[in-house]
Each structure stands twice: as C-alpha cells, then as structure tokens.
C-alpha cells in the first residue's frame, strides 16, 4: 500500500496582486483622505450614546447606587456583569497581538492593530464600572496604596484590589504595546501626509522613526518583550477578574475552574467582537484583500475551540455539583436550570454551547453572513454567562429568607448602552485617524518580504518563486 504525502500549501495571507506600495496606499488612504459623510453619522450616534453614559453616571453619582436595580442578596448586578463582559472582550486583542505573535502566526498581522484598539477601548468601558459601582466614588483613591494622613492602606487580600492593579496594568501595557506597534505606521503616515497639520501631528507621534536597521532591531526586541509580558498578563488579568467570584464562599461562585474558564470565555467573546467589527470595517473600507476569508476562518476556529472549552466548563460545573454531594452546590445548579433565571440559562446554553458547533462545518466558517450572525450571538451568550454567574448565584444562596429576584432598572440599561457610545466614539476616532491595519507588519508577511523570492541574477522580485514547493513522498508500508 502506498500513500502520497504532500505539504498542504498555506493560503496567501494577502489576497490580490498587491505590492508594498499598493498596501500602503490602501491602508493609509483612510486616515489621509477627507472624512466621509457616513463616518459623521456614525460618530454622531456614538456621541449621543456617550452623552447617555455621562448622564447616567452623573445621575448615579448625584443620587446614589440605589437608582440601579440592585437588592440586598444581589449586590452585584449589571455593573459587574458589564465589567467582566467588557474586560473579556478586550482580551482577544492581546491574545491576537501577543500570543499569536509568540506563536509566529502570520495571519495575525491582518487584524492585530484592529484588535488592540478594540482592547484598549473595551478596557476603558470596563474600567468605568468598578469605579462607578462603588457607593462613594469620591474616596475611590483609597484603593491605591498611597501614604496618607490616615496611615491607612488598602487590604491586599481582596481580589477587588487585585482588580485595580490588574486592570490598570493591563490598560497601560495594552496601550504601550499598541503604541509601539503604531510607531512605524505613524511614520508612514507622516511621510505620506500632505497637510502641514497632519505632517506635524503624525510626526510628533512617530517620535522620529527613520526605519533604520537599528530602529527595527530595537523595535523587534521591544515588541517581543512586550508580547512576552502581555501573554501572562492577559491570562492573569481575567484570572483575577474570575477571583472576584471564585474567592468567595457563594455556591456557584466558589469554584476552582473559574480562572481558566473565564479566560477561555474572554477569548471566545473577544474574538466574536473582533469578527463583528472586522466584518463591517473590511466591507466599508475595502480591506477584503487583507482581512480575507482565510483569516476569518482561522478566527472562527479559535472561537470554536474556546467555545467548546467554555461548554466543557459548563458541563464540569454540572458534574461537580452532582459529584460534590453538597446540597447548596446542587441546589444552585438546579436553580440555574429550572429556577427563576432559567430563561437566562437556556439562552446561554443556546448561544454558547449550540452556536459554536456550527463552526465545525467549513462552509459555515467561511461564510461571512453566518459568521457575522454567530459573532453577535456569541457576545449575547457571553453576556448571559456573566449574568447567570453574578445574579443567579447571588439571588438564591444559603438562606432562603434572603432570596430575592433581581431585575435591572432603567439606569442599569442606560449605563450599559452608554458604554457602547464610549467604545464607538473612540473606535471611530481610531478608524478615522490611525491606520487600522499594521502596514509594516502586513508587508513583512507578504511574499515580497521573503528574500528567497528574488531572482539570484537580477535581484528582481520573481513571483514564480512564491509558489509553494510541493514535496511528494512515496512511502511503502
């Protein structure tokens, strides 16, 4: 019996007949051309939502957290749900830019800038909630270990304090990582810009980047170190967020599976959000050659894997509840399934367990419309996951006399919707003024960047050399 083995050639990362120049023109044209009307419309809508957010926060600070639908058993409601949801969304950005960088995945270049921007704005939205959900926002600086005239320090054994450090570090490192990546591209924009203002602004932001060998050498090292630092960071940040729950004694919260399960969920929802945004942006800005179907398929695969990890965690929660022989653990799981929030549980099961199973099919993974729908369903599902964890576990715990049903008030909803205003305000500014694809990095994964693709005699780029070499092996067993 003999079999032919052959290497499966990797699909080209950048479709179409692009040269270095055409890639630069394609990406740099958006920040450097006049603002389109549609952008103003979108920006206006985002601004309205932002005003809703500011209004909701203002009224909250004026009137107190009682304007929310919280009750005594459920002291954590939408604010914490949304916090975890937004932080989770932010995690895909770092995963794409850092972890995939460490794994040398060339396809990340199409989406990393986009995803990092999303991280930063999602973390901004997330960071609002821990700040505003406290009853007395004006003394929130007490969470920082600053020497003061009270001789008082924060208690370092609370995961909520770790949250402060985790989220602020995460935001800072993400911002730095994003900015370091932007520098060569800002230099490109500086050099392409026609107007004086644009030249000077991009010039200041580019910090005098010349693209010399030494520039690039240091840049690559810095980028590598940041990627290496951001990877444990991204895992630990969402772990710490999960500790907010897992460290407590509440049945349904006190669970050792939470850290990896939250991280998997974060990647799952984060990739879904990147897909949602990317599928719109590639259409509007004509970036189909870069953010192409192959890349969408790869993202769908990551989403499928993490979706199944999350599904496994749900299964484990049920199993461990049964296996524990612990009546409260069993009770809370039973209440998830048939209790007052069972509707949330079944929405969650549908969105997070059933939906990713469609991604086993190649033609669905490669279908833009279905992927778009799935990506939105996943984010709804992940919101419900946090809803079930926060609210359902709290509403019905040890003492039946302390059971109550939680429902959000108008202000809970307004605050949540408002955070989309904040997110999209910044995201649209990013789309408008910064290159949404890492120009330098995309060029690095194009066939033209590979020195092997040049003719030895003439030193000219030779496209025929970029064809994958098919190695055939004959094996006889």
């Amino acid at each position: 019996m003999s079999t032919d083995y052959q290497y499966v050639p990797e699909p080209k990362l950048v479709k179409g007949d692009h040269t270095f120049g055409s890639i630069t023109d394609l990406i740099a044209k958006t920040p450097l051309s006049p603002t389109p009307k549609l952008w103003y419309l979108a920006f206006g809508l985002a601004n309205i939502l932002l005003i809703v957010l500011l209004g909701a926060i203002g009224y909250l600070i004026w009137d107190g957290t009682g304007i929310w639908g919280l009750n005594n058993p459920a002291g954590w409601g939408w604010a914490i749900i949304n916090f975890v949801w937004w932080v989770g969304i932010g995690h895909a950005g770092t995963l794409i830019s850092a972890i995939l960088f460490l794994f040398r995945q060339g396809w990340r270049t199409a989406i990393n800038r986009f995803a990092e921007a999303m991280t930063i704005f999602a973390v901004m939205c997330a960071g609002i909630f821990p700040a505003i959900h406290v009853g007395r926002i004006w003394v929130i600086y007490w969470v920082f270990p600053i020497p003061n005239q009270m001789a008082a320090w924060p208690n370092f054994s609370s995961p909520l304090l770790w949250d402060v450090f985790a989220v602020s570090t995460y935001f800072t490192v993400s911002l730095l990582f994003w900015y370091v990546g932007l520098i060569p591209d800002l230099a490109t924009l500086r050099d392409k810009a026609k107007s004086k203002v644009a030249k000077i602004s991009y010039g200041i932001a580019a910090l005098g980047w010349t693209g010399s060998f030494r520039n690039w050498w240091n840049y690559e090292k810095a980028y590598m170190i940041l990627a290496g630092l951001a990877t444990p960071l991204v895992l630990s940040v969402h772990t710490i967020v999960s500790f907010d729950f897992a460290v407590s004694v509440i049945p349904g919260w006190h669970s050792t599976i939470f850290p990896p399960y939250f991280v998997a969920g974060a990647i799952y929802s984060g990739f879904a959000m990147v897909l949602t945004l990317m599928l719109i942006a590639r259409k509007i800005y004509g970036l189909e050659d870069i953010m192409n179907i192959d890349i969408m398929e790869k993202m769908n695969l990551v989403m499928m894997i993490t979706g199944n990890l999350v599904a496994f965690a749900y299964l484990m929660e049920g199993f461990v509840a049964w296996y524990s022989g612990y009546i409260y653990e069993q009770g809370i799981f039973w209440l998830y399934v048939v209790g007052p929030y069972a509707w949330g549980f079944w929405i969650l099961m549908f969105c997070n367990v059933v939906t990713p199973q469609f991604l086993w099919f190649k033609n669905i993974r490669r279908n833009v419309a279905i992927t778009f729908v799935i990506s939105i369903i996943v984010n709804i599902g992940m919101w419900f996951e946090r809803f079930m964890i926060s609210v359902a576990s709290l509403s019905t715990d040890f003492m039946p006399s302390a059971w109550d049903y939680y429902s959000p008030s108008f202000w809970d909803i307004a605050t949540y919707i408002g955070t989309f205003g904040l997110f999209f305000t910044f995201f649209l500014l990013f789309l408008r003024f910064l290159p949404m694809v890492a120009i330098a990095e995309v060029k690095g994964v194009m066939p033209q960047a590979d020195p092997h693709n040049y003719d030895g005699e003439t030193n000219e780029f030779d496209p025929s050399k970029t064809e994958p070499v098919v190695v055939q092996q004959e094996q006889t067993v």
Binding site: N148, Q149, M150, A151, R190, D191, K199, I200, G203
Partner: protein, 214 residues
C-alpha cells in the same frame, strides 16, 4: 524630502522629561503638604462671640482646667462651661464690661452663647476624653499651651495618623495622672518614665477600627 521639524526639536524630549520630573515632584510635594490637615486644620482660630482669653484665665489667674471643663475625667465629651460658670465671678467682676455683653444677655434670656468649635472631629470618629486623661495624657499634648492662647487655636492636625502615632508609641506622651492639667510639664527622661507609666497603668492603646469608628 523637506524637514518637518526645526533643529531645536531635538531638545524637546529632554526638556519635556525634565519638565515632567519637576512637575511631578512639585505636584506630589504640593499635595503632600497643602492637602494635609497639618496645613488645612492646624492654626484654625476663629473669632469667638465673646472674646474669651484662655491666656488670662488659665495663664495669669492660674485656674485649673477642670474649673470650667468639669467633665473631662468622667465624660467622653469635654464640656464647654455654661453661662452659669462665667457668672460665678462675673456677676461681681467687670459687671459693665462691653466684652461680656453676650454673657450677660445669655444669663438674662436663657439663650446659650454660640461658641465656635475649634477642635472638630468628624462624627464617625468617637473620641473619648475620659479614656485619655485618666491614663495620663496631658491637655497640653493635644491642645498645646492653651494657657498662652489669647484666642484658642488648633495646634495639632487631629488626623488619623497623628492619633495612631501616639497609640503606637504612648510612652512618648504619657505623664502621671496628677500632672494631666499641668501646662508646661517637661521631664528629661520622658521615654523611660513613659515606659514605666505605660506598664504601671497597664496602658494598651487600641489601634483597631472599632475602638474609634465603632
């Protein structure tokens, strides 16, 4: 390609860094000093409705503090004397002084004199006078040389760290209980004597939350 930035732009990063360091240092030092009770509260000396002089009564006439502030050894609150206490003397002394007009008015109408409180702790800090003076914390330690004050002013910050400094090292302040109201009490071997008094009187100042904040 034309240069975008002039030559002096080379200096900008260095100057920015220097400026940032100076600014950050100034900001930290400024907040540290100007936002602390040592700056905001110490020296507070409002004008009282009656120009009462501690310097004259406690200093020149040498009243013991407890003649007027009678409850300090019994109560958690050190009382301000009632009009009756003033009138013990002033129904015969300086009966027509315009400075005492408000006191006589209070005596006649029964309305209290509206003294202005100088040492004001927030109401979530439950300070107890009796607990302190009965173990030998002198008036002077917290209120300064009141016998030299024409107008009472706050001399200590009354901040929480100020309280805790003493609760953690009481030997630096304690004196024999009979010396509590003495103004200008001073001995050379304070620490030694203080340690002795701390163990003798079984002084064990609390540093936990519920002692002051309940």
């Amino acid at each position: 390609m034309a240069q975008i930035f002039p030559k002096w732009a080379d200096e900008v990063p260095r100057q920015l860094l220097l400026g940032l360091i100076i600014f950050a240092t100034a900001a930290v030092a400024g907040v540290w000093y100007y936002f602390s009770p040592e700056y905001t509260d110490v020296g507070y000396a409002p004008e009282q409705p009656v120009p009462f002089s501690h310097q004259m009564h406690a200093g020149q006439l040498d009243f013991d503090c407890q003649y007027c502030h009678t409850n300090v050894f019994e109560s958690k609150h050190a009382n301000v004397p009632a009009t009756e206490t003033c009138m013990n003397c002033h129904n015969q002394v300086m009966t027509d002084s315009p400075r005492l007009e408000k006191v006589r008015e209070s005596w006649e109408t029964g309305e209290a004199v509206e003294w202005i409180r100088v040492h004001n702790l927030p109401d979530y800090a439950y300070f107890n006078h009796a607990a302190h003076v009965n173990v030998g914390v002198g008036c002077e330690s917290c209120h300064g040389r009141v016998d030299r004050m024409e107008v009472v002013q706050q001399v200590e910050p009354l901040s929480m760290s100020w309280c805790l400094d003493c609760h953690r090292n009481p030997e630096q302040q304690v004196r024999p209980v009979e010396e509590v109201t003495t103004m200008g009490y001073e001995i050379v071997n304070q620490i030694e004597k203080g340690q002795e008094l701390v163990s003798e009187n079984n002084i064990n100042p609390p540093t936990d939350c519920q002692s002051c904040h309940y």
